[in-house]
Amino acid sequence: MRTKSLGTVLIVTAIVLAIAGILFQKIPFVLASCAFSFMLVYARLRLISEIASAKVEYERTPGGGIAFASEPLPISLKVVNYSPVAMRGTIEDLLPPSCHVGAGTNKFDGVIPGRSGISLMYTVVPEKRGTYIFEGVRLESEGIFGLLSHEREEPIRTTISVHTAKEALRAARRLAGKEHFEFYGVSRTPSIIMHDLEFDSIREYIPGDKARDIHWKLLSKLERLMTKVYTKEGAIQTRIVLDCSRSMRQTAGRIGKLDHGVDLSLQLSKVLLSGFHAVGASLVDEVSVLADVAPSLSRSQFDKIVLDLKQAPSTVRVSAEESVARTEASEPGANQNPKQVGLTAEAEALTDAVRALGSHTPTVARGVGIEGVVKATMGRARRQKMLFIVISDLVSSKDAVLTAASICRRSGNRMIVLETYDDWYREKDHQIDVEDAEKLYETLVKSVRIEATLRGLGVGYLRIGPADTTGGIVRLLRRQSA
């Protein structure tokens, strides 16, 4: 309990009057001191009683629709005082970090009469993409006469998932009209036919075959009807696989790798859909598939992908030095000690889980993560050729991507890896010294080796940084595939 300024004045007066009573040997001063003490004691007891019998209910309701970063999101907080006694004080809806009030106010200062309520309407502006948790409501109850106050927090949790900035969607729509990105191949059900009537084989005639496809010359030799079979080449189904592993979630610069990955996935899918490519998207971490949308060309496909990408986990801000240490620790096979690199309890638990699954062992874990998605997709595709666009930093999920690439090669599917190059996403707060330069070089050499391995497996590869836009990436990929 806290004494307010008026309460302090009363306490000081009571003490001064008591001292004056002793000094001047006057009982009236002491009795006046008793009167002040009575007021303070009564105010305290009444506040305790009011708090103990308070029956207040809170209900927080976020506005409908998708929440976007840097866009105001309406929040409504209803406070109902079921107690017959009025409630005095300040009620403040506690905002999550990286959020600020846009319009209105999240505070109420005044009296809520007994058996009535108030409603706070305001908008919050989340600064970036991610999950925001409203932890509770801070309630500062003010005692009678404003002498004392008591502060407490009521835990009312509301979780809001905030998508990337609307600008990324607008950019996707702009790009869709400008850029074209086509990958064609043999497909059972191509969305659009690019190269029709390429001869494939001959089979026996089945009623319903077109007359022009009948091999008339063979009729005289075999004395039965044979049909020429043509393969159709067209836009193949594409699946964008976004790596949401531990290393991707770390942000040491202005733009996070995962945030950039989400924007890229959105914009690439829009560009591909505008070119009649059936596109799907998957969010994958080290051990599981977080969200998945099967490739399709339906009208609502882009909306489905937008909703799917909304489930991408939040990024965690770390310093550049910490990021280096964590990245080294995140690499599979690294002999890591979580305590040495200052990981949080959550990160340690994740590390243990991954370790338990065996990804730290020399043999690559199979059936989970990116390669799991590739396998499952191919299983569902039933020999239909597919294109996988993997967006990953190749740190935590390096082995999974390499395994997926070799699976794609064996099965004749295609893969493009967009490596969100870790070092380019870090912002150094000091001048680079020789040691840093050596580390950067070492990392680059590692990345070049991975690139060589991937290219050897027939995978298209691009190393990208925060400055790379989707338009530029699409143009580069087009040039590579040409």
């Binding site: 009573g21 009982i27 001191s33 008793c34 009167a35 004691v41 009564y42 305790i48 708090i51 407490r152």
Partner: protein
């Protein structure tokens, strides 16, 4: 805000009691008069800080003017309660509710009212209680306290009582 007639009436009655029961010198008379006027003006202009400041002047003037020498005799005890303690309490209350439109329902929470009343009664009657206890324990002793001893007893009761009542911690509301 419209001034509450009940509050004004209580205040005027308290001031009248302070005038009636005190032995006023020129200084205490000036202090009491100016303080009361300032309190009324501050109340009408809803200026709580000013009203509290004026209340301090009134309380000090009233306490200085009170002829109370002992609280062991019934007459002086009545004088202490009716002529000083209750009016001072009313004046403090009047100052603290200045600027507040809220009607405090004191009867709604009887527990705090009764506990605080018990505390204050214990303080005011602390000296007679002590005398009675000593009289019961040792009937042969004739007890007579000096003014300083009476002050000490009242302050001891006040300090112990306030501390005992402040020990209660805030409990969160039951779900």
């Amino acid at each position: 805000m419209r001034p509450s007639p009940l509050r004004m009436l209580a205040f005027l009655a308290a001031i009248l009691a302070l005038y009636a029961f005190g032995e006023h010198s020129l200084f205490t008379l000036i202090g009491l008069t100016l303080g009361s006027v300032a309190m009324v003006l501050a109340y009408l202009s809803e200026y709580r800080a000013g009203c509290v400041l004026a209340m301090l002047v009134v309380v000090i003037a009233a306490a200085s003017a009170s002829p109370l020498m002992t609280v062991t005799e019934l007459g002086s005890l009545m004088n202490a309660v009716l002529g000083l303690f209750l009016p001072v309490l009313a004046v403090i209350w009047f100052a603290l509710v200045t600027g507040s439109e809220e009607a405090y329902w004191y009867g709604q929470r009887l527990g705090p009212v009764l506990q605080a009343a018990a505390f204050v009664l214990l303080c005011v009657f602390s000296v007679p209680i002590t005398v009675a206890v000593i009289g019961i324990m040792s009937p042969n002793i004739s007890v007579r306290f000096s003014e300083f001893e009476e002050i000490s007893i009242i302050l001891l009761f006040e300090a112990v009582g306030a501390a005992a009542l402040s020990f209660r911690e805030v409990r969160p509301p039951s779900a």
